[in-house]
């Protein structure tokens, strides 16, 4: 028999609307499964009993017009939730209880969603394996001692292990798409300015975007429709006409032009990724779209650019954690001593490393050589995409240069960890939408993803291409419940 927790979001919504199942039954099922899955360490904060209470209230007075009628949803612990602890995976925020709600989560509750809990992530979203979290690493449901990717590792583990019907993550350099790829799930980073950043703990403000993480493309469209809104509280939120992504979803992509960038064929890329990419190209042709070879000549400069821009913005954003107004405080002999001890004890190693990089590249005498240089190269990277989009409607690449790796395999070498984001980082630098779609497995049976990159604000085409490919690929995630 199919369990409720096996169902997709859209299947659950249909069943609730037809009154075949109640919100309470659904919520209890996910709570029960989450309770049995503590070994994955996906949650930082559980909101289980309150979620069941809210589900009961929904059932007493149901509103079936909503897009998420009584649906329990766990979210990444980077979204501020009013009255519920929000840590960003850091010791420095371990006692922080926001008195306001992020716009993206508010949109979810306004459509009938119920908070199930807050999911683990890399500290301040800085990481590609969820190993920088103060609350410990997360297990990938695909196999024991495999990383779930990062930074949205708790989110990717929770969706792959059926602990929540859908979830949301944030993506600064690949933090939605890379964990989606590592867990055989779908993850979408929207165009910069689509989803409000208000109430999201800031990492690198010119790159950060929230986005859906789901079991399939249709759920992804449904959730994007809920979270993508114009918001005056975010000065970079963009007021554009948003589609009804789920109802406009179509498998007809005949005549679409899809670009294949030759620069994404990187040295040392496993044969499996290469052949997955070739298969992806065949699937796209089968769908009636046209393949066009393109060039994105500055691709190899994207990661070095990112590792100047992101830490620079982070060092500035994280200056607020000084032990004065909220968060962890370490006692000092004087004010400066208190700042230095608070930040030294409150931040983890990777966060400190990035603050140091950022501080250095912004410091007097080095600004032009590093930060200004990076902003100029960022312009060239964006121009590469602008030029490509004169010829094509979307671009197909692998999501990651490898499948999920073992816990502790890369923790001692920051640069090798950073290389994980080689295919995802350019998309953030250029502010574009990108989706990772599960497309196959490697020799160990670990999932591999393909990334589709779209034109700005053209999430609909992105979803349509993914939707038609999904049917051809027919990927089935193998989850054995090994942790139970």
């Amino acid at each position: 028999m199919t369990e409720i927790t096996d169902l997709t979001l859209n299947e659950i919504v249909t069943n609730i609307k037809k009154k075949k199942i109640s919100s309470t039954e659904v919520t209890k099922s996910f709570v029960e499964r989450s309770e049995k899955s503590k070994k994955l360490n996906a949650y930082i904060t559980e909101n289980f009993s309150s979620a069941i209470e809210q589900a009961k209230k929904f059932d007493e007075n149901p509103n079936y017009e909503l897009k998420l009628p009584g649906i329990p949803i766990a979210v990444k612990d980077l979204f501020c939730t009013d009255g519920i602890k929000t840590t960003a995976g850091s010791k420095i925020l371990n006692n922080f209880i926001p008195t306001y709600e992020s716009t993206v989560t508010q949109n979810i509750w306004d459509q009938g969603g119920i908070l199930l809990g807050k999911l683990n992530c890399d500290e301040f979203a800085m990481g590609s394996s969820n190993e920088t979290s103060f609350f410990g690493n997360v297990q990938n449901p695909i196999g024991e001692n495999l990383v779930p990717g990062g930074s949205s590792g708790g989110s990717s583990a929770a969706i792959a292990a059926n602990l929540t019907p859908v979830t949301i993550g944030t993506d600064t350099g690949g933090s939605i798409r890379q964990p989606a790829s590592f867990t055989g799930t779908v993850g979408l980073k929207p165009t910069y300015g689509s989803c409000s950043r208000f109430g999201i703990v800031a990492f690198a403000s010119s790159l950060d975007q929230a986005g859906p993480m789901t079991k399939n493309v249709k759920d992804c469209a449904t959730l994007l429709e809920v979270i993508s809104t114009f918001d005056k509280k975010d000065s970079t939120s963009i007021d554009f006409k948003r589609n009804n992504y789920s109802s406009e979803l179509t498998k007809n992509i005949k005549g679409k032009k899809i670009g294949i960038p030759k620069e994404y064929r990187v040295d040392g890329m496993p044969v499996e990724i290469e052949s997955l990419w070739s298969k992806g190209i065949e699937y796209i042709k089968d769908c009636g779209a046209e393949i066009i070879d393109i060039s994105l000549p500055h691709t190899k400069y994207a990661l070095p650019t990112y590792y100047i821009v992101a830490p620079a913005e982070a060092s500035s954003n994280l200056a607020r954690y000084d032990g004065v107004k909220y968060g962890f405080r370490s006692l000092g002999e004087n004010l400066i001593d208190m700042y230095e001890k608070t930040r030294s004890e409150g931040f983890g190693e990777e966060v400190k490393r990035r603050i140091m990089i950022g501080t250095y590249v912004l410091s007097s005498g080095y600004y032009d050589a590093y930060y200004l240089k990076a902003q100029k190269v960022r312009q060239l990277i964006k121009k590469d995409f602008d030029d490509a989009y004169k010829k094509v409607d979307a671009i197909l690449t692998p999501s990651t240069p490898s499948s999920a790796f073992k816990i502790a395999e890369k923790t001692n070498d920051p640069v090798s960890m950073y290389l994980n984001d080689i295919f995802t980082v350019p998309v953030n630098l250029a502010g574009l939408p990108g989706i990772s779609l599960p497309a196959g497995t490697d020799k160990n049976g670990y999932p591999l993803g393909l990334q589709i990159i779209g034109k700005p604000f053209d999430e609909q085409s992105l979803l349509n291409i993914a939707y038609s490919m999904e049917e051809k690929i027919n990927f089935k995630n193998k989850i054995t419940n090994w942790w139970m």
Binding site: T236, Y326, K352, R353, M356, L372, K376, V415
Partner: protein, 95 residues
């Protein structure tokens, strides 16, 4: 270029993060490998390129300068590390 111990200590002062000798040594090593990687950018001539300062290509919106939230003093002080109903408390600054 290389980042020496003295530079690491200078950056840590600027960043208000105290580091001990052992950590500073490790950080110097990490930062050097990261900056070797970053310096790939010097291959590119960017003298004619305008820096990209905003990806969102919009001008910032104007709004009226008016108070929207009132009486939120309690909310603001709620997460204060040291309790005081009126102020944030810090170690003595003026002797």
């Amino acid at each position: 270029m290389t980042i020496d111990l003295k530079t690491v200590k200078h950056i840590s002062k600027l960043a208000r993060i105290s580091v001990d000798e052992e950590k500073a040594n490790k950080l110097a090593g990490d930062l050097n490998s990261i900056f070797t990687f970053i310096e790939k950018l010097n291959e590119l001539n960017t003298s004619d390129v305008q820096p990209l300062t905003s990806i969102a290509e919009t001008t910032l919106r104007f709004r009226k300068d008016e108070i929207k939230s009132e009486n939120i003093r309690e909310k603001i002080l709620k997460n204060s590390p040291e309790n005081n109903e009126d102020f944030f408390v810090v170690p003595k600054v003026v002797e």
